[in-house]
């Protein structure tokens, strides 16, 4: 089942003196349960592509379909609700609400979706367990390490079972040990919850863990390989 379809998408930035073709004719699709990494040199358009898929930005040209929604047809306010319902985000940093505890951060989107309290607490505990932070539920983000914060962010992104999780360089600020731990968790959740992960990276070690590697250069897809072993 396809969760995302991208059809000849272009994103051109005009707001500098020269126009920048950040995404220049990309056609791709993603299946449910994928564990895909997007790689490419700096400035190749990875962040831009993820933002377009996640409905954070609109393409200049082309079509993006997510879970039956044609994103270009959504009004800005609908786009926000679309993100809340269908997309999980993990950013490089500043993922969490500093005044809330880890548990409350994990529960945040469930609250926005008005889940009943018991259900929310149960799901939060389950997820904190699967990211290995059962005992840190009451800690504030500032009391957690960078790796732990990213794990809380993954748990939050996953909580309401979105169509997929987008993670833009989730390990960029982590040491290699924490990065490996985060990837272990993402892999496990990909397996156990059949959650689709699409993430970008610069890190060769991270790349090796993916089952599909899409390489961008100058806003174009230059290779798209799926590994069958593993």
């Amino acid at each position: 089942m396809k969760v995302v379809e991208i059809n000849d998408v272009h994103k051109i930035y005009h707001d500098t003196e020269v126009e920048v073709r950040a995404i220049n004719g990309v056609t791709l699709s993603f299946e449910k349960g994928e564990f895909t990494v997007i790689v490419g040199p700096s400035g190749s358009g990875k962040t831009t592509l993820l933002n377009l898929i996640g409905g954070l930005d609109q393409p200049t040209n082309g079509e993006i379909l997510v879970a039956g929604h044609r994103l270009s047809e959504l009004r800005p306010s609908e786009l926000i609700d679309f993100r809340m319902e269908h997309v999980g985000f993990v950013f490089q940093s500043y993922n969490l609400i500093p005044v809330l505890t880890a548990s409350e951060n994990v529960g945040f989107i469930m609250s926005l979706q008005k889940w009943p309290k018991e259900k929310r607490i149960a799901r939060t505990n389950e997820l904190l367990g699967s990211v290995g932070l059962s005992d840190r539920g009451n800690s504030r983000p500032s009391q957690l390490s960078g790796g732990q914060q990213q794990r809380v962010a993954v748990a939050r992104a996953l909580a309401t079972r979105p169509e997929f999780i987008l993670a833009d360089e989730p390990t960029a600020n982590l040491d290699s040990k924490s990065a490996e731990a985060l990837l272990d968790i993402m892999e496990k959740l990909n397996r156990d919850e059949e959650m689709t992960f699409i993430f970008s990276t610069h890190d060769a070690k991270v790349m090796k863990r993916a089952r599909r590697i899409i390489t961008l250069e100058d806003g174009k897809v230059v290779s798209d390989e799926t590994r069958t072993e593993n």
Binding site: N51, L56, I80, D81, R83, V87, F89, F91, P98, L112
Partner: protein, 475 residues
């Protein structure tokens, strides 16, 4: 959830929030407390006007107020009073005889309004009998064969009935009140000397003392030397029913002290029966019926009811007799509203500034919230609640401080007597007992919330303008 986040957010930068909260606290305190003080002054004035001078409603012969003629009496006043007392909301009614006349002593004469009253009835209606200066006699209680008169301190002074004498007792009293021996020694030279006016007395002792001693003890010295001989005589002259000039000697039964010099200087009370005998007015005739109600709130209603049932007479509420007082009462709330609005507008700038800093500091975080699906309304609400909480915390603490200050000063009052001459001439007490209606607190709370909401609009709009993509990307 949003509420909880907003509440926690205001404590992220504790010192900054505390500065704003303190500013709001001080502003609200200043507003409420000064209002409470002014309110008490106005309230005291209104109480005095109603309970010492006017009563709630007055019924007059139609022509009496303009003519002042002794013949313009109310027909059938006795049965009217019975009728009035049966009207719902009326506590008591009594009749008065009112004559324009002259009061004289061997030293001076003053024009006065001689009011003939029923002392028993008056005591049920007015608090004036309780305003008797202790030690000056009583309110028509002494058993004598003389005509008695109850007069205000100002009139007594004007007629030189009040003297200033530093007797041995007076000096002992000063000693008791901790006036230094040095000052008392200096005053010895004035001992037992009699002064017929306060001015002359002040002049005499002021040269003996240093300016600071005068300032500190002047009032106490005057108070101690204040003296009055019970049974002092005053001659009252007026026209009788046949327009014949009549005079009679009255003795002073007591002297009262109010905050209203004007009222004190023209009003003189005597038993109605005496006046009747001296003027030849028939039994049961009065110029004015005064009506006391169970509550001031009934004034308008009962006034129009009485007016309807007594078409031939002039029925006036205290608000109509002294419209300036009524206006004052009505304006209080508006003045307060304007006052608070000015204070809160100033505070709003502080809140806007603080919230703007808070929003700009949290660009990435707000961008992240928008990215993961917190909609515009929720973001706006969050910023607005932060601003409301800031102003509410300050407002509540300001109200608490005000309450404490009011409670602390309400019992003994704030004494402005030193600066009071101007105030008392117009009937406003110089001794303030701050008090506020609970309504003022509610209005204040509402104004504070409104301030919080208004102050949040600009910062919240700034937050909404943030583009989540750029906020997240931004290095």
């Amino acid at each position: 959830m949003i509420t909880e986040i907003a509440w926690k957010n205001i404590w992220r930068n504790k010192s900054r929030s505390l500065i704003v909260i303190t500013a709001v606290t001080i502003g609200v305190f200043a507003g409420i407390f000064s209002m409470a003080a002014i309110n008490s002054s106005v309230q005291q004035r209104l109480d005095a006007a109603v309970h010492e001078e006017l009563s709630h409603i007055q019924v007059n012969n139609k022509d009496f107020r303009s003519s002042g003629d002794i013949q313009d009496t109310i027909q059938g006043a006795d049965s009217l009073m019975t009728l009035i007392e049966k009207t719902k909301g009326v506590k008591a009614a009594t009749g008065r005889i009112i004559l324009m006349g002259i009061a004289s002593t061997s030293a001076k004469s003053e024009g006065v309004e001689i009011i003939g009253v029923d002392p028993v009835k008056e005591q049920q209606i007015f608090t004036l009998p309780e305003k008797l200066v202790p030690g000056t006699g009583s309110y028509f209680k002494s058993e004598t064969k003389y005509n008695m008169a109850y007069m205000g301190e100002t009139l007594a002074r004007d007629l030189n009935i009040i003297r200033f004498i530093l007797t041995g007792d007076a000096l002992a009293k000063l000693r008791n009140e901790k006036v230094p021996e040095l000052v008392i020694t200096r005053l010895q030279s004035l001992k037992d000397q009699r002064f017929i006016s306060e001015k002359a007395f002040a002049k005499a002792f002021e040269v003996l003392l240093s300016p600071s001693q005068n300032k500190k003890y002047g009032l106490k010295i005057k108070e101690a030397a204040w003296s009055f001989r019970e049974g002092s005589k005053v001659i009252l002259s007026f026209l009788d029913v046949n327009n014949v000039q009549t005079s009679a000697v009255f003795r002073i039964t007591g002297i009262f002290r109010t905050n209203n010099d004007m009222f004190e200087s023209v009003s003189l009370f005597v038993p109605g029966e005496e006046l009747r005998r001296l003027t030849g007015l028939r039994e049961g005739t009065y110029h004015r019926i005064i009506v006391e109600l169970n509550s001031d709130d009934l004034t308008g209603e009962v006034t129009s009811k009485l007016r309807e049932s007594m078409p031939g007479l002039e029925v006036l509420s205290w608000k109509e007799i002294q419209p300036d007082l009524a206006l004052m009462a009505d304006f209080m709330e508006q003045i307060y509203g304007i006052f608070m609005a000015i204070i809160l507008a100033a505070l709003a700038f502080g809140i806007v500034n603080t919230m703007l800093m808070a929003v700009l500091e949290r660009t990435r975080e707000i961008g992240m919230l928008a990215a993961i699906g917190m909609n515009r309304r929720k973001i706006f609400t969050m910023i607005m609640l932060e601003s409301v909480f800031l102003s509410l915390v300050g407002g509540v603490s300001g109200m608490a401080v005000s309450l404490a200050a009011i409670a602390a000063t309400a019992k003994h009052g704030i004494n402005l007597v030193k600066y009071s001459e101007g105030m008392e001439a117009f009937g406003y007490s110089a001794h303030l007992y701050p008090s506020v209606d609970i309504k003022f607190f509610l209005i204040t709370a509402v104004l504070i919330v409104i301030t919080g909401i208004i102050s949040s609009v600009y910062p919240a709009r700034k937050a909404l303008k943030l583009n989540p993509v750029e906020a997240i990307r931004g290095e």
